[in-house]
């Protein structure tokens, strides 16, 4: 074992040093970088608010992409998660097939999905929506099915004992128990999707990212600054809203009643 450990260390250090050499990190470059950054900031401030109106429309488009993509993804995740989870899957073969499909959707980065869908359906928000949908299925499909596997066996067994059909046991006992967690996961998926929807625009998949990359390409850093500040405000706002809803969801809604 020590030999292997040593080998691992040597490989790690070799890769690390080679990586640093490739990046050509020199004090001179870092200093120049700071200088360039100063130049960018000098041009970016004060931000040019003249394009705030059109940027806001693009931002709205980004939010819509995120919302539509996540909703479609969540709706598709639920049946996939049921097929994936060990305690609800109809057959081990179905389980392995869906697990693999969900794993692929999760492993391929959203930016690559966006590139693929831009080729498939052209530039614009639809490509972004489809990319977010795939990303959401990869994320929610996995967490939904894990939550389904964690549900307690008692309620499902109790309903089975009443002579209920298998599907009624799943939707009567297992899904209701997992529902709060599904909602929390979906809200987190919305947060995640808003962040990635911003970036997806950079490859032409619609939304605020298109505006940002245009402003950058035209060296209008003051306009870019407006857009970045707008993104910051919206993303922070969305995260606050969603964590507020999650907190309300997960706290018990009704107090413990008096004991009988």
């Amino acid at each position: 074992m020590p030999v292997l450990t040593w080998a691992a260390w040597v490989v790690f250090l070799a890769v690390l040093i080679h990586g640093l050499m490739q990046a050509r990190v020199t004090p001179w470059r870092l200093l120049r970088g700071v200088d360039n950054l100063g130049g960018f900031l000098a041009q970016a401030f004060p931000p040019d608010l003249s394009r705030l109106g059109s940027a806001s429309w693009s931002m709205l488009e980004t939010l819509q992409m995120a919302l539509v993509g996540v909703t479609a993804g969540v709706v598709l995740s639920l049946p996939l998660a049921i097929l994936c989870a060990a305690n609800t899957s109809p057959h081990p073969l179905v389980r392995h097939a869906t697990r693999t499909a969900v794993a692929i959707m999760r492993t391929v980065p959203d930016l690559i999905w966006a590139l693929i869908f831009v080729i498939a359906v052209g530039l614009g928000p639809l490509a972004g929506i489809l990319a977010i949908m795939m990303d959401t299925i990869g994320f929610c499909g996995r967490f939904f099915s894990e939550r389904i596997e964690e549900t307690s066996t008692g309620p499902a067994e109790a309903l089975t004992a009443t002579g209920a059909a298998r599907s009624d046991v799943i939707f009567g006992a297992i899904i209701p128990e997992a529902m709060p967690s599904f909602v929390a996961t979906s809200l987190y998926a919305v947060e995640k999707a808003i962040r990635s929807a911003v970036v997806l625009g950079l490859v032409g998949a619609g939304g605020i990212g298109v505006e940002l990359s245009a402003a950058m390409d035209l060296w209008r850093y003051d306009q870019a600054c407006t857009i970045i500040l707008l993104i910051l405000a919206v993303v922070i706002g969305a995260e606050h809203l969603s964590s507020h809803i999650r907190r309300k969801m997960l706290s018990p809604t009704q107090p413990h009643t008096q004991r009988a």
């Binding site: 009443t162 002579g163 128990e177 529902m179 009643t257 004991r259 009988a260």
Partner: protein, 276 residues
């Protein structure tokens, strides 16, 4: 024909643990049987074999005329028998996040599909029946509360209401009071046996406390290490007759009988809490 017939039942779990061996049992319509034994004596396994939750290693189980041991796990025949057998569990088996009323409605799943039992789609007659069941256990006033906000005793009473909603002919109760305090436990037992009495239900109830066992049902069946060692009418039995069930199992402190807190009394047909 007996409601429940068990012939030479044996169950050995993978790994070689022998839960049941050579158990014979015959229970008539309307009979109330207490199945008594220490932890690990095989009571729960026997009960689970009756509804097909466990497949016996050998032997035959017949419930309400259907041979459970010969029907397949997902068959309609098995579902049909299960719909006539109401079960009550130690940990209640209520669905968290749903109201007490919704949980009771789910008791009808044996005869009605789920989409006809939701708050938006349920038929009036089913709604009224569920409320009547909740009322019978004295919990109509918490119908709209989530079950996890209720006390343990209340949760078990909701589970009994769900069992009533099922309109069973047989009731199998698996340690129904093991997770309740003595007072709530007594309330639940009075309610359960009172209902069984008024509807002439056949009852099999597993217990591990001697004093409680001596207060309910007509017959006591004792299990020890998977074998039936006692099967007598309750009348005339005293605690000393039952102690042998535990004595040689003394390696497990938990299986000792609980100290007798009061003189056993015949079950009260009505419970104060159920009368409003």
């Amino acid at each position: 024909m007996p409601m429940i017939r068990v012939d030479e039942l044996a169950k050995t779990f993978p790994g070689g643990v022998r839960a049941l061996s050579g158990v014979n049992l015959s229970i008539e319509l309307g009979e109330g049987v207490v199945l008594l034994g220490a932890n690990g004596s095989g009571k729960s396994t026997l009960l689970r074999c009756l509804v097909g939750f466990e497949r016996p290693t050998s032997g035959m189980v017949q419930v309400d005329g259907v041979e459970i041991t010969s029907v397949s796990q997902r068959s309609r025949a098995l579902r049909k028998v299960r719909s006539r057998v109401g079960m009550v569990f130690q940990r209640f088996g209520l669905v968290p996040g749903l109201s007490a009323w919704s949980n009771v409605m789910l008791g009808a799943l044996g005869r009605t599909r789920l989409y006809r039992l939701t708050p938006l789609t349920a038929r009036g007659e089913d709604r009224r029946e569920a409320m009547a069941c909740l009322d019978r256990v004295g919990l109509a006033h918490v119908a709209n509360q989530r079950t996890e906000t209720l006390s343990g005793g209340q949760q078990q009473r909701v589970a009994i209401a769900r069992m009533l909603m099922q309109r069973p002919t047989i009731v199998l109760a698996d340690e129904p009071i093991a997770s309740l305090d003595p007072r709530a436990g007594r309330e639940v037992m009075d309610l359960l046996w009172g209902i069984a009495d008024e509807r002439r239900l056949t009852v099999v109830c597993t217990l591990h406390q001697l004093d409680v066992a001596l207060a309910y049902g007509q017959r006591i069946v004792g299990l020890q290490r998977g074998e039936k060692v006692l099967d007598r009418p309750r009348a005339g039995l005293v605690a000393d007759d039952l102690r042998t069930l535990y004595t040689s199992d003394s390696h497990d402190a938990q299986t000792r009988p609980s100290p007798i807190e009061r003189t056993p009394q015949p079950p009260q047909p009505m419970l104060a809490a159920a009368s409003h």
